[in-house]
């Protein structure tokens, strides 16, 4: 550590001898303003495609407002991300239903299967935007344990369905057997 101290001391003393305070201030100001304006330049933002999502899952974020988004593989309903909420949060004025339809989807970014919970948001009349009915791995009504055509708002305070979220619960041990 003392070597680092000595190196840094030498550096500061040297710069104190060479550079005037005004010169330092003007340069420092330049760095501050330049640093702040750099992200405004029109450069391709390819790196953003591989950010980590708000619930910590890596991969191309894709567009959660589109039905093709990987997490929507077993969804049946209006996407909350088109309805004033997001794919993990309900729009204001609605309540997330505690009971929910659950399935697995494969994330193309890492090739892993994730358990997805399609919690419905309840309490306002249906959203009507971005209807998405992919239902992969769903089964007809007589297989009630793999059917999602029931009103999951049954567990919430008000039973009016508004829209659906797609929340990652955990990574799955295997894809859902019905797929």
């Amino acid at each position: 550590m003392s070597r680092l101290d000595r190196w840094f001391e030498g550096l500061t003393r040297q710069s104190a001898r060479r550079v005037s305070r005004r010169n330092w201030l003007s340069r420092f100001g330049g760095v501050l303003v330049g640093g702040a304006t750099l992200p405004l330049l029109p450069v391709a933002r390819a790196a953003e495609k591989h950010t980590v999502g708000e619930d910590g899952v890596k991969g191309p974020q894709g567009d959660p407002t589109r039905c093709e988004y990987w997490r929507h593989c077993a969804i049946d309903g209006f996407l909350c991300s088109c309805c004033g909420g997001s794919h993990t949060a309900c729009p204001p004025g609605t309540e997330m239903s505690p009971v929910t339809w659950i399935g697995t989807c494969r994330n193309p970014a890492d090739g892993k299967d994730y358990i997805i919970s399609y919690n419905d948001c309840c309490g306002k009349s249906f959203c009507g935007r971005c209807m998405c009915n992919r239902n992969e791995g769903e089964r007809p009504l007589y297989h009630w344990y793999r059917n999602n055509d029931l009103n999951w708002c049954g567990g919430a305070k008000t039973q009016t369905y508004s829209c659906s979220t797609a929340i990652v619960v955990k990574t799955a041990q295997e894809p859902q057997p019905e797929k």
Binding site: T100, K170, Q173, E174, P177
Partner: protein
């Protein structure tokens, strides 16, 4: 250097948790949608915390396999037996004795209960 390593470890661990076992995976995929992750249920679904007062009573061992949700779960006898052993340990604090075997679960689920609520009442009232 140490805080740096600790930070890196934290980032590594704080990623999305993986289902720890096939038992937990099966619980999340086939049960937790209605019984919820913590087993607390809702106004339309019974709480799994209720297993505490049921476990150990005569008939309870058969009852928990014959209820419609268990008997008709889309799992093989083997996976269902393993999941129920895990589930009883988790919600009652004690594993079933003896543990459910594939054969026992296969036999019990072949005769699902027509009226689980009546059977539950019968089990709970039998001891009084």
């Amino acid at each position: 250097m140490r805080p740096l390593i600790a930070g890196a470890l934290f980032l590594l661990v704080s990623g999305t948790a993986a289902a720890d076992s096939y038992e937990e995976h099966d619980y999340i995929l086939s049960c937790s949608g209605c019984h919820r992750m913590d087993g607390s249920g809702s106004k339309v679904v019974p709480s799994l915390q209720g297993l505490q007062e049921l476990a150990g009573k005569p008939g309870a061992r058969e009852y928990v396999i014959r209820v419609p949700g268990t008997a008709q779960a889309p799992l093989s006898d083997e996976r269902l037996a393993a999941m129920m052993n895990w589930l009883m340990q988790r919600f009652t604090g004690k594993a079933p004795k003896p543990l459910y075997s594939t054969k026992e679960v296969g036999r019990l689920r072949s005769t699902p209960l027509r009226d689980p609520i009546a059977e539950r009442k019968r089990i709970l009232n039998a001891e009084r």
